[in-house]
């Protein structure tokens, strides 16, 4: 018996529950309700071009903010003692164990017009007693929600790459006369590139396709592409075929991300290291 046969259940399972469903999405995207071939669904995608652009823009913004915020944290964690690293990684991961919807819901209490932040600002006297800073139901609130929810997904892959970074390489660069900026620019940054790529993928993909954050924090006036897809599958006005076509675009986006990831790393366990 060869041990590779142990992967048979896996191959069957993933075939039936990931590969076949993907094919079904493609099939739905190119057919109408009767099952006949049509390009009408694909043609409808253009109606939503604006929504795609908005979603990609907000997702990209959130990703950049996450990267900028996460990089120093990941770097400083990776330079600590082993026990300290373990504790700090746990502190970063812990919020993810609180229900994601509830955490986002809690931001509503913080951001709304009579929310905690506005109450605090009033108490400080920064704003008048009846005034309130408009925060909830704005683009900014959605981006904040994304940054908040996906920040750990940026910190952890960055950290896991940086933790493997050999201190002696940094010391060598310093010995050879590099200043702090040069050490960062020429040694740390290039060596952490795989972490950046997997972090960016892990934040950007869920951020672009989210439909809960925009609903809870953006109010009803903001529609992201995830919201549009959701309405195509749930409720009265649903249309599986158009929904499938819209999802197809997201799938292509995912494939682009995957091929980018593979280019940087050989695509085996860049995600695996993050929780170890």
């Amino acid at each position: 018996m060869k041990s590779r046969t142990a992967a048979t259940p896996f191959a069957l399972w993933m075939g039936i529950f990931t590969v076949v469903p993907m094919a079904i999405v493609v099939w739905f995207a190119f057919t109408d309700e009767t099952g006949a071939f049509t390009m009408a669904n694909i043609a409808q995608i253009w109606q939503y071009a604006g929504t795609y652009v908005d979603s990609i823009w907000m997702g990209a913004l959130a990703t950049v903010i996450c990267l900028v915020l996460a990089y120093p944290v990941a770097l400083s964690i990776s330079r600590k003692s082993e026990n300290m690293q373990r504790t700090m990684v746990m502190i970063v991961m812990l919020p993810m164990w609180m229900n994601f919807l509830l955490r986002t819901y809690a931001w509503m209490s913080l951001l709304e017009n009579n929310g905690l932040i506005n109450q605090f600002l009033r108490w400080l006297g920064v704003i008048g007693a009846d005034a309130s800073l408009e925060m909830i139901n704005t683009d900014g609130a959605i981006v904040l929600g994304m940054v908040y929810n996906f920040l750990p997904f940026m910190i952890l892959p960055l950290y896991s790459v940086m933790a493997k970074l050999d201190n002696r390489v940094i010391e060598a660069a310093q010995d050879l006369g590099s200043n702090n900026w040069q050490v960062f620019r020429r040694v740390i940054l290039p060596l952490s590139a795989p972490g950046i790529v997997s972090g960016v993928t892990m934040v950007f993909v869920p951020a672009v396709s989210t439909f809960v954050i925009s609903k809870l924090l953006g109010g009803s006036k903001y529609m992201m592409i995830g919201d549009v897809i959701e309405t195509m599958f749930v409720g009265d006005g649903c249309n599986y075929n158009v929904g499938a076509a819209l999802s197809l675009v997201l799938m292509v986006l995912m494939l682009l991300c995957m091929s980018m990831m593979r280019k940087v790393d050989n695509g085996e366990d860049e995600l695996g290291g993050m929780m170890a």
Partner: protein, 266 residues
């Protein structure tokens, strides 16, 4: 510089924990209002246990999480062992397939399975959206996490140990259980724990695959957020958070102890 980085980390951690603190504090709030403080109370904890909707959803969530974790751990561990012994192309293909649910937008994973289940249901009357579809979907997105946790442990393992066991007359399957499994056990356990927590917390995929009869906690919470939420749910999440915190601390202490033991042995 050191102080600066400490302050910076402090701010980031405060940002990560601010909403959680809000949730916990307001679970003791003696007012139905979301942001007004009406004094300390434990009423929400009492009412939580009498709220059938939440209790049923919690029970279902736990059932799904345990089943999904166990099944995905078995399939995933076997898969890691199998894939590890594959070469080049086949291995890349398998890892590629394994990566699909991880890189795919959750909403796409969710609707793709939903479309398949709906198609099967329409054609055969079997697989009505409910407990079973929810479980199948959860197992599917949990498997990759297990594979990715077990894989590195296999790579760290000394290959010759398994061969030695075979040379000494052990059959492959007992050799796996006696030699390989103990070595990769930390990865298997982490994988199982990850699968469990992923399942526990999942919303998007559950939302599309649960149907009206089998709503897990996240889906229930989502339907509740459309109206003003009652603080019972804050109480529940505080309890769950406390449980996870406790578990993590125990696991962490155990890991540190193991590490120290290993150091002593050297």
């Amino acid at each position: 510089m050191k102080l600066l980085s400490k302050i910076y980390n402090g701010i980031i951690f405060a940002f990560l924990y601010a909403p959680i603190v809000v949730l916990i504090v307001y679970s003791f709030n003696d007012s139905k209002h979301r942001v007004k403080w009406g004094g300390f109370t434990l009423d929400w904890y009492k009412e939580l246990f009498h709220n059938e909707l939440i209790m049923e959803a919690l029970w279902l969530t736990l059932q799904i999480a345990v089943l999904a974790a166990v099944i995905s751990t078995i399939i995933g561990t076997m898969a890691a062992v199998g894939i590890y012994s594959m070469n080049g192309r086949l291995r890349n293909l398998m890892m590629g397939v394994n990566n699909i649910p991880m890189v795919n937008p959750e909403i796409v994973t969710g609707i793709s399975m939903m479309l398949m289940f709906v198609a099967i249901y329409r054609a055969t009357g079997f697989l009505r959206p409910g407990f079973l579809t929810l479980l199948l979907a959860h197992i599917t997105f949990c498997i990759p996490y297990v594979v990715l946790q077990v894989m590195p442990k296999l790579r760290q393992m000394n290959k010759h140990m398994y061969e030695a066991a075979l040379d000494l007359g052990c059959r492959p399957v007992p050799a796996f259980f006696k030699v390989v499994l103990p070595e990769i056990m930390p990865g298997v356990i982490t994988g199982a724990l990850m699968a469990f927590t992923m399942s526990l917390d999942d919303f998007v995929i559950s939302y599309f695959n649960s149907g009206a009869s089998a709503q897990n906690l996240s889906v229930t919470i989502y339907s509740m957020t459309k109206k003003p939420i009652t603080p019972e749910i804050n109480a529940l999440s505080t309890l769950m958070f406390g449980t996870v915190l406790l578990l993590l601390i125990i696991v962490n202490i155990r890991q540190v102890r193991d590490l120290n033991k290993q150091k002593e042995r050297r």
